[in-house]
């Protein structure tokens, strides 16, 4: 039904994730564990609930997650 991706993105930024989420501080505390679970191919969202929702709602934490995943994932691939 939603035909405009830019409108959908704008609504997403305004309304944030619908479900429960952790805060920035808790996200930072758990990010290393979350990334290692992801790199290992395990279900990080089951182990650390609420973190993915926070990454969806917080661009800064999301960028830092992407960087840590790229850095650690790159090392594991070597």
């Amino acid at each position: 039904m939603m035909e405009r991706p830019d409108l959908k993105q704008a609504l997403g930024r305004l309304l944030g994730p619908a479900g429960p989420e952790v805060g920035c501080d808790e996200c930072f505390d758990r990010l290393d564990r979350y990334v290692e679970l992801e790199v290992a191919g395990r279900d990080a969202d089951v182990a650390l609930p609420g973190l993915r929702a926070h990454l969806d709602g917080c661009p800064a934490c999301r960028e830092e997650h992407e960087s840590l995943l790229a850095l650690v994932g790159g090392e594991q691939a070597l």
């Binding site: 035909e3 920035c24 661009p59 830092e64």
Partner: protein, 227 residues
């Protein structure tokens, strides 16, 4: 203020703290890092130097990832930022060494400090000298234009209700924070710096504002997820 100290506060705790419980056994590399960093004399000095090198590598990794978005910065300026980030991250890691519980490898744990410091510094540098808009620069993104007639009628009601709620339901502080972060694209660390706040506190404000807007839409029978 270090970037780390800007990440204070929870929104909601949705998971058991047991997920942060220490591993029964640290991996050998992590155990060796801790042994050396808790030692004295040359052993510790050597470990701190190796730790700084590790943090600098991570900070440079972050700088390299963001370099395309910072064309106005010279290479030596970027390397200065990476070095400052590594220095600040080193202080944070040493201060919080006892917080490491072995939930990940030690190197993964320290990397996140360097990435955070570098990312925050680069966001602030990108906005240096720029005005931080706290009022809506444009409602164009929330216009229903360009949709088909049926979709436009349905969505225009939601968008109109949302725009009203931003003006009527939120506190002035919530409105400023929501508008700056979600509408105007101001990085949260930049806004925290300008308002003398922290990332965690601003995200809590944003979270509360979002909950109010969702509740308002719900009260009016409007669901963005169904659109």
């Amino acid at each position: 203020m270090s970037a780390l100290s800007a990440t204070v506060g929870f929104v909601e705790s949705s998971g058991p703290l047991s997920t942060l419980a220490p591993s029964p056994v640290l991996d050998p590399d992590s155990r060796e890092w801790l042994r050396c960093l808790h030692a004295e004399g040359a052993t510790r000095e050597d470990a701190v130097a190796r730790l700084h090198a590790l943090l600098l590598r991570a900070a440079r990794f972050e700088v390299a990832r963001r370099r395309p978005t910072l064309p106005h910065l010279r290479g030596d300026e970027l390397d200065d930022i990476a070095n400052e980030a590594a220095d600040d991250a080193l202080m944070s890691v040493l201060r919080r060494l006892d917080d490491f519980r072995g939930a990940s490898r030690f190197t993964t744990w320290v990397y996140k400090f360097a990435l955070l410091e570098a990312a925050v510094k680069l966001r602030k540098r990108a906005w240096q000298g720029r005005e931080v808009p706290l009022e809506p620069e444009s409602w164009a993104l929330l216009s229903g234009g360009g949709l088909g007639p049926d979709a436009e009628a349905e969505q225009s009601e939601l968008l109109s209700s949302l725009q009203s709620a931003i003006g009527d339901v939120l506190t002035p502080h919530q409105r400023r924070v929501l508008v700056a972060l979600a509408l105007n694209g101001v990085p949260i660390d930049v806004l925290a710096d300008r308002l003398g706040s922290t990332r965690g506190a601003l995200y809590k404000t944003l979270h509360d504002a979002r909950r109010k807007l969702r509740a308002h839409l719900d009260e009016h029978g409007l669901s963005p997820e169904e659109m």
